[in-house]
Structure formats: C-alpha cells, structure tokens
C-alpha cells in the first residue's frame, strides 16, 4: 500500500472488505491511539483501547464522512471517548496524577522548543502543535491540557484548581480557539468575531 494513499481512500477500502487497507490504517494510527491511552490507562488498558477502536473502524468505517473532517480526527475522537470512559471509572487521584504528568511534560517540551526543533526524530506535526501550544498564555494552556488529557469537565477542573467556573470556561474556550487559529483551522477574523459576540453576553 503506497504511503501516499489517503486515509479516506483506505477507510473506504477497509469498509468494503479490503484487509490490506485495514492493516495500513492500523499501522498508521495504532501507535497514536496507544500513546493517548497510555498515561491514563497503563499498558493493558491502552492495548484494549487500540483493539476496541480498530474493531470500530472495521465494523463502522462506512459511517466515516470525509466531508465532516479527517479520518484521524474521527478516529481520535472515538479513541478519546473510549479512553475517558474507562479512565473516569478509575481512582480520581490516579487520573489527576496522570493528567498533571502530561501537563508538566508538555511545559518542559515548550521550554525546550529549540532542542525539539533540532531533533530530527520529532515529527513536523508534533513540533507545530508544541509551538502552537507555546503561544498560549500559560493558564489557558494548563486548562486546555488538563481538560483534554485528563478528561475533566469544566466543573471538575474548577474544583480541582480552585478557579471560578466562569474562569475555567473562558480559559478553555480562549485556549482552544487560539490554538485553532495557530494551527490554521480557524481564521483570525473568525476568532475575533466569535470573541466579540461572546464578550457582548
């Protein structure tokens, strides 16, 4: 299977019963899902999530609609939902420890951006995301990272960090919207318009 074959084409083939396309998708994306699950679920849990998610790809791949976003986004959304479902059943302290661990490591990564940029083993996409995160104000970044990787709700995070609920919502919102602009998913004009509208509330 050629490396340039798009995910959308592969998932169409896999959904039509092509095992080679299925395997190609697995090779491309299994590691990313494993890494996402690993901090919160350990090795066995992460392996289970990889298995579950690819079962979903095989059985429900026909539901993927490339007009609504990339395959990677679709897959990661499925994986994160499953991971959080399992993680929320675990001890609160363990989840907090894992999420803070990821947050601290990201801060270290941002602080050493020069080293990362020089490191040939880091993917271009990873560097791009680290750089974009580095442009966010630290409290917005912390709120966003803890919500994403720890699976906290606004309310849980407010309690955890002793921030007012409205502050949590605003920091998460600004953090994600600014990140969307930095990564090119949202135009600066759209962001400004959205902020103007919400400031009028």
């Amino acid at each position: 299977m050629h490396d340039n074959t798009t995910d959308a084409l592969l998932v169409r083939r896999a959904a039509a019963g092509d095992p080679i396309a299925f395997r190609a998708l697995y090779e491309r994306h299994a590691r990313g899902i494993y890494l996402l699950a690993y901090p919160l679920l350990d090795r066995e849990g992460a392996s289970d999530v990889v298995q579950d998610v690819f079962m979903t790809v095989w059985s429900k791949g026909h539901q993927f609609d490339e007009q609504r976003g990339s395959f990677r986004t679709w897959l990661t959304a499925i994986a994160r939902h499953r991971i959080l479902d399992l993680a929320r059943r675990r001890a609160r302290d363990a989840r907090l420890l894992a999420a803070r661990g990821v947050a601290e490591q990201i801060e270290e990564l941002i602080d050493s951006t020069t080293d990362v940029a020089d490191d040939a083993t880091t993917s271009v996409q990873a560097r791009h995301v680290v750089h974009a995160l580095g442009t966010l104000p630290p409290l917005q970044r912390r709120a966003l990272v803890l919500v994403y990787f720890g699976g906290y709700t606004h309310r849980e995070l407010a309690e955890l960090l002793d921030w007012p609920l409205g502050t949590v919502k605003k920091r998460v919102r600004l953090g994600l919207h600014k990140l969307a602009v930095e990564l090119g998913h949202l135009s600066p004009e759209s962001f400004a318009a959205a902020e103007e509208a919400t400031n009028e509330l």
Binding site: P19, R31, L36, Q51, W58, L157, H177, H185
Partner: protein
C-alpha cells in the same frame, strides 16, 4: 440557546467538558445551525491535534512497534513475569487476525453466493458477522487460549464465550490447509460432556467458527482435532487448551 451562547460553550462541548444539560442544549442547536457546526468541526479538528505532542513525550517508555507486539504469536507455555501481558496481546492479535479472517471469509463466501443464492447467503453472513462482534467485544466475554499440541508448531487459537449469550466464537491461526476429507473440528467439554462445536472454516491459515454454547456453562476443556467430520473426537489433536 442562541449562537452566542453556544459559541461560549463550544470548546467545552468538543472536549466533552460540559454538564449534561449544557451538552444537550448545544447538541440541539448544532442540529440546525450550519455556522456553529462548522466552528465545532474546526475546534474538534484542533483538539484532536493535541495527542501529536505525546509522540515525543512518551516515546522513550513505549515499545518501538505496537503493531509488532499486538500481532505477535501467543506465549508457548513458558511461565514468566510478563506472561499475562503476552496473553493479553495474543488476545488482541487474535481479534486483529479475526478481522482479517472474517473479511477473507466474507469475500470468499460471496463468490460462492454468486453461484447459489446471493441474498440468503449475504443475510446469513451479515448475521454471523454481527454475532462475532457481539461475542468478542463485550465485558461479559470469557476468552481461553488454544496452543499447539505438536512442538515447533506456531499455530494457536482462541475461544470466546459470553455469560449472557448462547453464541460463542472461536478463531484459529497458522494452521495448514487440511487435505482430503480431513477438517479442523472444535470440541468443547462442559462438565463431563464433550461435544462437537463445529467445523472451522479455514482461509489462508485463519479460521473462525460461530457456534451455539450455553452462556452460563463453564468451558472445562476445548481442543481442535484434524479428522473427517464425525460426532466423536479423533486422536489427532492439533490445538489444546492452555492451562496456566
């Protein structure tokens, strides 16, 4: 809830961070608002870029190739501190292989169906595929591993039963194609009774079988024989239950 209210909550919505009532209100609004839906799609794509940073963070503590480990054959009897992990990974491998096996089976069977009764065949296959997923992908599932009787063989298999269903699924892998009238037969013992579960369909070394099994019945033994179809097990056992 109007667009302005929704946009204030949209980041929390795509991150699954809202209270249930907020989430439901946003979801209802998105059903009818193309502009907010487009913004939600952009924010969703952004949020799911975040895991890319983990590639750098976690690489030192993770196996070099997850795929290799997941598709590795099961442990062959040597007890060790990492045996449970290997068995777990073997389960993942069997499921991954099962996917390929089912796919291969469906394609092959479709060719036959073309010559006979296409609609009836496909309906049966779709039903069978659904059972496979119901059985292997459930918290009520119990799995047992089958290992080769013959030393040097790399064949293995897995039997999945569900305590709340009367359907069960078995997979085998790396078995040679049977010759002549011989077939691979799966046998299950519950209590003192050993009965034939069925004949394993084999495609390029992979085989699977959906069979009837009383959900509550404990699988005391399971093994695969190579023999002509019969109601009693022959002596040529190729896979037997792994016992810790």
């Amino acid at each position: 809830m109007n667009c302005e209210n929704v946009r204030e909550l949209l980041a929390g919505y795509v991150l699954e961070a809202l209270d249930p009532d907020e989430r439901d209100a946003v979801a209802r609004h998105l059903e009818d608002c193309a502009d907010c839906s487009a913004l939600a799609a952009a924010l969703t794509a952004t949020a799911h870029e975040l895991p890319r940073v983990l590639d750098e963070l976690a690489a030192p503590v993770l196996p070099a190739s997850i795929l290799e480990r997941l598709t590795a054959p099961p442990a062959t009897g040597r007890a060790g501190s990492w045996r449970p992990l290997r068995i777990r990974l073997a389960a993942a491998a069997v499921v991954a292989l099962a996917v390929l096996a089912v796919l291969a089976g469906i394609r092959s069977q479709q060719a036959i169906a073309d010559q006979h009764d296409l609609r009836a065949r496909l309906a049966a296959l779709v039903g069978e595929q659904s059972i496979v997923f119901d059985v292997v992908d459930s918290p009520h599932t119990t799995k047992v591993l089958l290992l080769p009787e013959r030393e040097g063989s790399r064949a293995y298999g897995k039997v999945y039963t569900r305590s709340d269903l009367n359907d069960a699924v078995a997979f085998v892998n790396r078995l040679p194609q049977p010759r002549g009238a011989n077939r691979y037969l799966l046998w299950i013992r519950t209590g003192r009774t050993t009965s034939r579960a069925g004949v394993l369909s084999l495609h390029s070394g992979f085989g699977y079988l959906v069979f009837h099994h009383k959900g509550q019945a404990h699988v005391a033994d399971a093994f695969v024989t190579l023999q002509p179809p019969s109601s009693t097990p022959g002596a040529a056992v190729v896979l037997k239950l792994a016992r810790d």
